[in-house]
């Protein structure tokens, strides 16, 4: 019997979860980026103090409570109120909402690092505030945000492991179920770790390429 066999069996088992891990990562990433960017715009540029307060509460709420609590609320809590989300739906929504709180801060610090002169020059030229935000400020803020967004994406990939707790069948979900039936604990978890690493490499590479493509603006 080939000594590689148990490893291959384990790998095969875990790969069933890799697709779900990828789907949850990318969907939550898309939701987190879109919502977080929108929140950062309102937080940074809306004159409404009330809106600022609400966004601050949102960010604190999602950043300071463990991801697992949010997932349980969305999955079990909402179900008890009659809104039944699939475990995938709850996973994407939960990680996406948490992600939006993180990216809101990242985008905002990008906007905040731009000198007021950038805005003044745009307004003086006859740009409206919206034109100023989208043609002058956003492209510069994006470049500044890019490295942090890359770290966030990799972190998110790793954080998808918590969604096994609400039975979303991703990598760690299969790892745990295999551990209970085969007792090859070390090999299984090491293989799972390797899988996360392999999946994060292209993500990191993509971020690096974006950074080179768009350069860094001081």
């Amino acid at each position: 019997m080939n000594s590689l066999d148990p490893f291959l069996i384990i790998l095969q088992g875990l790969l069933r979860g890799a697709g779900i891990t990828a789907v949850v990562t990318f969907s939550a990433l898309a939701l987190g980026l879109a919502l977080g960017f929108a929140l950062s715009l309102f937080r940074q540029f809306s004159p409404s103090k009330l809106l600022h307060g609400l966004i601050d509460v949102y960010v604190e709420f999602f950043r300071n409570i463990p991801a697992l609590s949010h997932l349980f609320i969305l999955y079990f809590g909402l179900a008890s109120l009659g809104f039944r989300l699939s475990s995938m739906g709850a996973a994407i929504l939960g990680l996406g909402l948490i992600g939006a709180a993180v990216t809101c801060d990242i985008f905002r610090s990008g906007f905040k690092s731009l000198s007021p002169g950038q805005t003044e020059a745009a307004l003086a030229t006859g740009f409206t505030p919206l034109q100023t935000i989208f043609t002058i400020l956003t492209p510069q803020a994006m470049r500044i945000a890019l490295p942090s967004l890359g770290n966030f994406a990799v972190q998110l990939l790793k954080d998808t492991s918590v969604v096994s707790a609400i039975a979303a069948p991703e990598i760690m979900f299969y790892a745990r179920s295999m551990v209970t039936s085969s007792f090859q604990t070390t090999l299984i978890y090491a293989t799972a770790a390797g899988l996360y690493l392999v999946m994060s490499l292209p993500l990191m590479q993509a971020v690096r390429m974006l950074e080179i493509r768009y350069g860094r603006v001081k």
């Binding site: 003044e120 006859g126 034109q131």
Partner: protein
């Protein structure tokens, strides 16, 4: 002949500190006016009130007869300060050049100059590009059209910033100490461009510490101190034979 720009009773306070204490002046079409005065006297504040980058506390600013930054209230006769969105078309009529250039670093030199023509004046891409090249030629920067602003010297950046303001086809150019952030050897190239624009008959309001330049290029000079215009007159008169003791003291001190 009515003035292109007329300013009446302009006041500006920051909290309880009144920086501008009632400023009145007029700029006729084609006139070049230099605004001089000690540091902190309110020159930048005054200039920035022209296009409402600072909101005046009181006063009336008119460009070509049109009230800037204020519109009649809906009911009654209370006036309302315009929003930045409402101000945009009025600001587009005044080109502003800042001490620190404020070029947009994510755009090329050409894009910096073309973008307002595209987005504000709604020219086609080709028209905007042609206009931008024309304006870059005026400031002798055509050869760096595809460069990034970050690759340019301060003097070059300021010349591009001037081209950017010119691309607005403004009725009035506002300069806020355009050379005071530059290394001494770069001052001349920027002053030369401004002098060429003056010779074209453009209307300009220029805050400067370059006294000799003000004397030679401006038609009139206003000396601002303590939030009021202390002295105002023909450039040569104010600078060579000032009447007011405060003007005399300022000019004496700036020459040393």
């Amino acid at each position: 002949m009515t003035a292109l720009l007329s300013v009446t009773g302009l006041r500006k306070s920051y909290g309880s500190v009144e920086v501008l204490k009632g400023i009145d002046f007029e700029v006729k079409a084609g006139e070049k006016i230099a605004l001089i005065g000690p540091s902190g006297s309110g020159k930048s504040t005054c200039l920035r009130c022209m296009n409402f980058l600072e909101k005046p506390s009181a006063g009336d600013i008119r460009l070509d007869g049109e009230r800037v930054g204020v519109r009649p209230g809906g009911r009654g006769d209370s006036e309302r300060i315009m929003s930045d969105r409402q101000l945009a078309p009025q600001r587009a009529q005044m080109g502003m050049v800042f001490q620190l250039f404020h070029l947009w670093p994510h755009l090329s030199v050409l894009e910096n100059v073309a973008i307002a023509a595209r987005k504000v004046r709604r020219l086609s891409a080709v028209e905007a590009r042609d206009l931008a090249m024309e304006m870059l030629a005026k400031v002798h920067m055509s050869h760096r059209a595809s460069a990034s602003p970050l690759e340019l010297s301060g003097g070059q950046q300021q010349r591009v910033a001037i081209a950017r303001a010119l691309s607005q086809k403004p009725k009035l150019m506002l300069f806020d100490e355009p050379t005071s952030a530059l290394d001494p050897e770069l001052v001349h190239e920027v002053l030369k461009v401004i002098e060429e624009l003056a010779a074209e008959g453009r209307t300009m309001l220029l805050v400067t510490h370059e006294i000799a330049f003000a004397r030679d290029v401006a038609d009139r000079v206003m000396f601002l101190d303590g939030g009021v215009i202390v002295e105002e007159g023909l450039a040569r008169d104010v600078i060579t034979t000032p009447r007011e003791p405060r003007t005399q003291a300022f000019l004496k001190q700036i020459r040393h």
